[in-house]
């Protein structure tokens, strides 16, 4: 440890570079408290804990949830670790708890949910808990066993009783035919003459499902020499082992002869029939029945008491079940962590390594000291920061509002350590780009209501959230949905679209003063179009509608053509602004990394290339908007406005456009205003293209050239000073190999950037495409569904409206809000992930996963659900 520390101190202000390229100095760490703009400053430290206090300290850290432990001895197998016995004991306790839980669920008892979470218990408490659990488990097992046996006897007695009763009725009815003499016993005698008159009875109880096969078998085996009677038991009897209720039949078999008796008995055994002794005399039967009844009563009392006892046991157990679970799990987690420590210095100190955020070190120190005090240890535990070249984990401190946006970014790739965090800007740009694509105030209002419902009742809904996965996804993003809906209402008002109808708030600025006439020779058809000219004051007021699109466009046949050009242009404008912002963020990254050469060699060429081409495109859009108008004259009238797309294509291809001889008034002062908007434009365009293309080789070769130059200098200096430090050698070795790497990396990066800038700019046109699709879907839904009811006329229209509104509402929510909403969400996400983040984002960090009891318990609860599902 000491040697690396020395080299660290020596090179701290020189060439020390952490592997990921982010340099960190102490002063920087002190001033930069955690913000969402970048991930937190993390440090690797070693914890020195006295062994008697180690458990308490780690438990305190688990409650705090700010430390991520690293395994100090990763090569040791699980069975050789320090605290493996304790972990085994915890798992055994968990198994017992689960057994008790299954029993409690079988009994349909309610398990109390603990309001307060118990903390990790002390070691002494666990011994008590262990003994308690063992006794409860043993008691339960014993009770269950007794219960099964009791039920079996109960079953047998009930069957015997039924059978006796039945036999009694039967035999008393047919007594005359059976017995010639009441006193004669139906026992086997040696007398042959009496043999032929005596009948043997075998009686018992059998499953009803086997009755027919039993009968057939008896018939075959006895060759028809038996007389059988079957009586069905009406109430189903519960089988003690399986708990199923079976239907049983009483059978009585009358036959003669000893051999038949053996055969009959064997068949009964084969069919699992319970054979009971049936006494011949009525008096004996009566006595037996009385005896049965008393025994059954006693048995029932005993059974009831057993169930009571079991119920009481389970009640007592289920009261503390949840807290026991929590305690056992916390203990197991702490021991898992303690297994990652190593015992050193003749068993006097436990050393562990961990990552922690620098700004939280005081809190962590307090927690450890509290733990050590609680354990009554006199030695204070220490935290020592250890410098390391490993990649630090990324920790973004979020609250419930920003968590959703951070998750969106993390889904693509976790921030690199201390990189610019795009999720801050996503909070504003994501809902905005969504709203540009969604653009309907009515649907936005529906989304707003849904989002508000989820937000206002978020405490209540959080508990029921675990049931459905889809709902939990929507719930987790409720603040995103809230912002998206507010922005959608705004863009809906701008596009003037409320459920596909426009609202006329300020009064339209277009007027028609036509006198329409109709007579039989020239009927007025509602399909005729009338063109309004914005040049005439009689038809257009001259200044536009104050906010949004004029409502008259809803009735216009060329509404789509007009809105298309507007939406396409603003899509490009938003796209270029968004991407330029992304490139500017890369500047900030470079300043952080202190790669100042990259600013000149990478950032500036990228920026200039992009702005020269696409920034100029935006510029000419604005110029065209400002210069040309319907009521302007001469060269600035609308006939002379040049096509921007043609202009741009001709600019890149260095082509000169053809002059149109028909547009006379556009040729003023020898300048063709239908091709160029302002004098000097062709010269400017040529310059911009050349300058932009010149930036490409700078991007390609700039950084490798700089690296080569620096390498040569370092080698020269090395030859002079004869340095021998490790770092110098490795740096040199690195640089030599990395020229080729850098070249390749730069080539890929440049090609990706240059070609990507064209495709990404065009990709932003999806803002136009989706808003068009949404508007058209909305209009089709209204005109195909609602208009059926509205155009039907008469009073029946009210009933139709009542029914059809329901259909329209369901279709609106399912197609326009859910489907289109998800689609716009997806496209916005793609715009952020690909078009925006490819300009600056590295995103190859890994997340900071602190040891916290909250996450341990959450995982365990999910596991529980799975296990319970299989056990049911």
């Amino acid at each position: 440890i000491s040697s690396t520390r020395d080299t660290y101190c020596r090179h701290r202000f020189k060439h020390f570079k952490v592997a990921s390229g982010w340099r960190l100095t102490d002063s920087m760490a002190a001033t930069n408290q955690g913000t969402l703009f970048r991930s937190e400053v993390m440090c690797r430290s070693q914890l020195y804990l006295p062994p008697e206090a180690a458990y308490n300290c780690v438990a305190e850290l688990g409650e705090l949830g700010l430390v991520q432990f690293v395994d100090v001895n990763p090569d040791v197998s699980n069975f050789q670790r320090q605290f493996v016995n304790e972990v085994k004991r915890c798992e055994e306790m968990e198994r017992k708890l689960r057994f008790i839980e299954v029993e409690v669920i079988k009994e349909d008892l309610n398990i109390d949910e603990d309001e307060t979470e118990p903390s990790a218990p002390a070691q002494r408490e666990m011994v008590e808990l262990e003994q308690n659990l063992t006794t409860v488990e043993n008691n339960l097992k014993e009770v269950n066993k007794n219960y099964v046996e009791l039920r079996k006897s109960n079953l047998e007695l009930t069957e015997y009783k039924c059978m006796l009763k039945q036999a009694d009725t039967f035999l008393s009815e047919t007594r005359i035919s059976l017995d010639t003499d009441e006193q004669t016993n139906i026992e086997d005698d040696g007398d042959k003459r009496e043999d032929s008159m005596k009948f043997n009875i075998v009686a018992g109880v059998l499953d009803r499902s086997r009755q027919h096969t039993f009968e057939k078998m008896l018939w075959r085996v006895s060759k028809g020499n038996v007389f059988t009677r079957f009586f069905e038991i009406q109430e189903p009897i519960e089988d003690p082992k399986s708990g199923q209720s079976l239907h049983k039949t009483i059978f009585m078999i009358f036959f003669q002869g000893e051999e038949l008796k053996i055969r009959v008995k064997k068949i009964c055994e084969g069919f699992h029939a319970n054979v009971y002794l049936c006494p011949d005399k009525a008096r004996e039967r009566d006595e037996l029945i009385q005896g049965m009844l008393t025994r059954l009563d006693d048995l029932n009392t005993v059974l009831n008491q057993t169930t009571e006892h079991r119920h009481r046991l389970l009640l007592a157990a289920c009261r503390t079940l949840r807290s026991s679970y929590v305690k056992v799990r916390k203990m197991k987690a702490v021991y898992h962590i303690l297994n990652q420590f190593s015992l050193r210095d003749a068993q006097r100190v436990l050393i562990g390594e961990c990552w922690m955020p620098v700004s939280d070190i005081p809190a962590i120190r307090m927690a450890i000291n509290a733990g050590a005090q609680a354990a009554g240890s006199s030695v204070t535990p220490t935290i020592e920061r250890v410098p390391t070249t490993e990649e630090h984990p990324t920790f973004n401190r979020t609250n419930k509002y920003t968590e959703g946006f951070q998750n969106l970014i993390d889904a693509y790739g976790m921030n690199s350590y201390r990189e610019v965090n795009p999720s801050v800007y996503t909070i504003a740009t994501f809902p905005f780009l969504f709203a540009v694509m969604f653009g309907d105030a009515g649907h936005g209002l529906i989304m707003l209501v849904a989002a508000l419902v989820m937000i206002i009742w978020e405490n209540k809904l959080e508990k029921t959230m675990k049931s459905s996965e889809i709902f939990s996804i929507f719930f987790a993003g409720r603040y995103i949905v809230f912002l998206m809906s507010i922005f959608s209402i705004y863009t809906g008002l701008i596009y003037n679209d409320v459920f596909s109808k426009s609202v006329n708030i300020f009064g339209t600025h277009w007027m028609t003063n036509m006198n329409f006439t109709a007579n039989s020779s020239h009927p007025l058809s509602l399909e005729t179009n009338f063109m309004l000219d914005p040049k005439s004051i009689a038809q257009y007021r001259g200044n536009p509608y104050p906010f949004g699109i004029d409502p008259i466009w809803q009735t216009a046949k060329n509404k789509i053509g007009f809105l298309n050009t507007y939406k396409m242009k603003i899509s490009l404008i938003f796209g270029v602004i968004h991407m330029t912002f992304g490139v500017m963020l890369s500047l900030w990254n470079k300043i952080l990394k202190r790669h100042y050469h990259e600013i000149i060699l990478e950032f500036l060429p990228q920026l200039f290339f992009f702005l020269c081409l696409f920034g100029y495109l935006i510029l000419i859009i604005f110029i065209k908007w400002m210069l040309y108008g319907a009521n302007y004259t001469d060269q600035y009238s609308e006939h002379c406005a040049p096509n921007l797309l043609i202009t741009f294509i001709n600019m890149v291809l260095f082509k000169k456009a053809d002059v149109d001889p028909k547009l006379e008034k556009c040729h003023v002062d020898g300048f063709n205003y239908e091709i160029y908007m302002f004098p000097g434009q062709s010269g400017l365009q040529k310059f911009l293209i050349v300058y932009g293309l010149l930036m490409v080789p700078v991007m390609l070769f700039g950084k490798p050239a700089y690296k080569y130059y620096k390498m040569r200098e370092a080698r020269r200096r090395q030859g002079d000073a004869m340095r021998q430090d490790l770092l110098g050698n490795t740096a040199d070795h690195e640089d030599e190999e990395s020229i080729g790497d850098t070249m390749m990396y730069q080539a890929i990066h440049t090609i990706e950037y240059v070609l990507g800038s064209v495709s990404h700019t065009a990709s932003y046109l999806r803002l136009w495409a989706l808003s068009l699709a949404h508007a058209q879907l909305s209009e089709v839904l209204w005109s195909m569904v609602m208009q059926i009811a509205l155009k039907s006329g008469g009073w029946v229209g009210a009933i139709m409206l009542y029914v059809i509104f329901a259909f329209w509402a369901v279709l609106t929510i399912s197609i326009l809000v859910l489907m289109e909403g998800l689609s716009a969400f997806l496209h916005t996400l793609r715009l952020h992930w690909v078009e925006f983040q490819s300009k600056f984002y590295h995103g190859d960090g890994y997340g900071f996963v602190p040891f916290s009891f909250r996450s341990v318990l959450k995982e365990a609860a999910a596991d529980d659900k799975e296990v319970m599902k299989t056990l049911r």
Binding site: N504, L524, G793
Partner: protein, 114 residues
């Protein structure tokens, strides 16, 4: 007589459960739908009543007209009729709202009771 009392008790006891025609989810959906229907149909009725131009394509008109006066009367009647239709449908949704809210409370109460 005891038989009669028994019979009446058995007949009347499941009555509270019998009132729950639809489950909790359906009644919640109907409540939301009815509330939305009332608000939107009231507003649509108001817009038809003030002869809003945006709704001109939603009134029943013929393809061709020989006389302007007929077009005027058709438009007036169409707007008026649609306004009344919207308000009547809104009233019907009010009734539906009452029923579904009552169903919803019925369902909630029965879950508490059990």
């Amino acid at each position: 007589q005891t038989c009669l009392i028994h019979f009446i008790k058995r007949y009347c006891k499941p009555n509270p459960e019998r009132m729950a025609l639809c489950g909790p989810k359906l009644s919640l959906c109907c409540t939301v739908l009815s509330a939305w229907g009332i608000i939107q149909l009231m507003l649509m009725g108001v817009f038809f009543y003030v002869r809003s131009v945006a709704l001109i394509e939603d009134i029943p008109l013929e393809e061709e007209y020989d006389q302007m006066s007929k077009l005027h009367t058709d438009m007036e009647n169409g707007y008026q009729q649609n306004a009344y239709n919207c308000w009547i449908a809104a009233l019907l949704y009010l009734v539906t709202l009452c029923i579904s809210v009552q169903q919803f409370w019925m369902n909630n109460k029965s879950t508490y009771r059990v």
